[in-house]
Amino acid sequence: MTETMKNGGVLSRRGLLKGATALGAAGLILPASMRKAMAEPKKGGTLRIAITGGSTTDSLDPATWSELFVQVFAACRVNYLTEIAADGSLVGELAESWEASADAATWRFKIRSGVTFHSGKSLTPDDVVASINHHRGEDSKSAAKPIVEQIKDIAIDGDTVVFTLVAGNADFPFIMSDYHLAILPSADGKIDPATEDGTGGYIVDSWEAGVNAKVKRNPNYWKADRAHFDAVELYSILDSTARQNALLTGQVDVIDKVDINTVGLLSQAPGIKILATTGTQHFVFPMDYRAAPFSDNNVRLALKYAIDREEMVQKILGGYGAVGNDHPIGPGDQFFAADLEQHAYDADKAKFYLKEAGMDSLNIQLSAADAAFAGAVDAAVLYSEKAAAAGINIEVVREPNDAYWDNVWMKKPFCASYWGGRPTPDWMFTTAYAAGAPWNESYWDNPRFNELLLAARSELDFAKRKDMYHEMQMICQKEGSTVTPMFASYVMAHTDKVATPDQVATNWGLDGFRCVERWWFA
């Protein structure tokens, strides 16, 4: 049995932040750790991956992508302006370099020359503009609309695309790595959302939604040191036992989302390696800040002390994860506040805060379904058991998985939820913690926090920014309206024929969707 735990890469952004008009981390200058690993890859072979989350209703339109199958399929055939490297730093992909104005409100991306689509068409700045515009505007039905709404205007200046933002955002190049913002070929200022074309390392051979996708290597791929396989086959396998069987019987080489309950057995099988990465994915219990009892910070603190995080990581995640500290920044992030006191289970403290709130006991309902995250109902029951000792009676309400995000999430005052995580604190805070954000699931509104969020966004000085994010994590932890008990690892498995780089990306599963580009056959 071999097991590798790879912990969160550090999000390095120095290249970006050194000066007000810093020239961005140029080209594909890879970090030292990766260069070493990338020296040995061998070419050839057909990689077969069993992936969850595929559905017959999947579409090629980037606006609708949300599950792992289409995300990995996208990584095969398209590129983005920027890419998050395995160590968490940002590198250019179709953007060769970028620079910001002093207020970080205007960003100039120099588009790489000599890149061609599979169809033979050359990449032009027009394609970039059309691809991003696909997610903007009144008629946009894109899941990425909220993150591109900050763009006021896009213009072309020679081989450069100029983004003018509504307000300064030092993290803007990170936004451009979002998996929705694929660069597709355009005609007359519009992309065809149903195209299979792209600039990626593999060309589509066949695709059957919800069944499989087969791609073969793009002989003209502009990255010389990537996409090592001759062909890649992606299989949509929804059932976790079926995925394991496929791996054990040698029908696939890699599987994602290994069932935590049987990971021990799987790791004992000969020739199988378990790969776990802990990054930004975390599970939460948001409380509705607007109404009693959660409007009282003492009640919120009591609930934060009434949860046994260590036990949850052991029992719900099978040890594949890390404890959370009631804010959404992962321990691998360069802005992580390591010196904050770790919240831990303490029934006495919980009782104390309950008393501060003027209560002897508290009766609340917690809504959960496994749609929120695998094991959410069990986690809620565990929470309820432990909280009882502090006089907090949590009644677990098991909700249907179907339409959970529609009927329960942000509707019930206390429920289970998850975040795949975002590569930067600003992105994460803006998405789920800023006052008035559409996905501010706890309806939290903290004036100081909101003020810091705005200030930090356009602050290009690293040290100042770090201080601000530190304070924001503290506010979140002490006054926030979300219980964040754990960061969950992505747990995958592969045969020992598959070789992975020393450092595997932690931002998403399957090496940040990029296993098709970064892995090879030993």
């Binding site: 008629d139 039905k141 919800g210 036992t241 079926a242 019987t249 179907d402 529609d406």
Partner: protein
Amino acid sequence: MTAIWTMIAKRIGLGLLTLFVISIIIFGATELLPGDLAKSILGQSATPETVAAFRRELGLDLPAHIRYFNWLAGAVQGDFGTSLANKRAISDLIATRLSNTLFLALYAAAIAIPLSLTLGILAALYRNSVFDRAANALALTSISFPEFFVAYILIFFLARTGLFPSMAQVDAQTAFGDMLYKTFLPALTLTLVVTAHMMRMTRAAIINLLASPYIEMARLKGMSPGRVILKHALPNALAPIITVVALNLAYLITGVVVVEVVFVYPGLGQLMVDSVSKRDFPVVQAVALIFAAAYVLLNLTADVLSTLSNPRLVHRK
């Protein structure tokens, strides 16, 4: 014979009416489900504006009855429309899935029907013998387990040892022989699930007849037990056997989603489940109508065959 043609015509007419009623029920049921396609596709990332844009584009903002009649107007002209989720023509989407489902159903039936008829006849012939009891016990055991359990047992013994693949991945390019090999485990699972029903029915129908006076007569004339059963009892037992075979065939077409999931087989069941969970109602309608039509047609076939097998019904006065 005209009686039979009249019956067929009547039944097809009624069948079409049934399909119409079913389409209304299915549409109503999809409407009752919480959420709609826009919200299901966007999931946690849905915002009011994007959901509204999605609905505008797909016409989901129209009232329910207008959407239904739009669909119906297309459907009666043979145009089932396109999937709301990925804009693919539904006929395209369903064609391969349907042929996969039919292939697996016929494969399983081709094993299960001869097997269960033979076992049933033998069990009747040697009733209460060790063979009869063993065949019954085995058949009942395999039908009592849930399908996925039978499937995992087969995977454990037949796939882990490398004899057969656990993943039945087939596509248009797969050769026929290869398809038989790759889909052997799902077909075997389905065989184990449906055999008991057909076998027990065959056995019971024949045993029931063995008590009749005309069988007694045949025996007294000195016929061998085999000849008594095959020549004299079986023709009269055909009607109930045909009915139960038809029911099981319908099940093989419509009810195998669990087996499809375990063996990763791209059939209609998974398409239906995906479409329901995403509220892609034109696809749900089309698949539901196929399932309903399978039931209607198979029952009709069973009735026609049962009638033909019974001279008293064919030559009715």
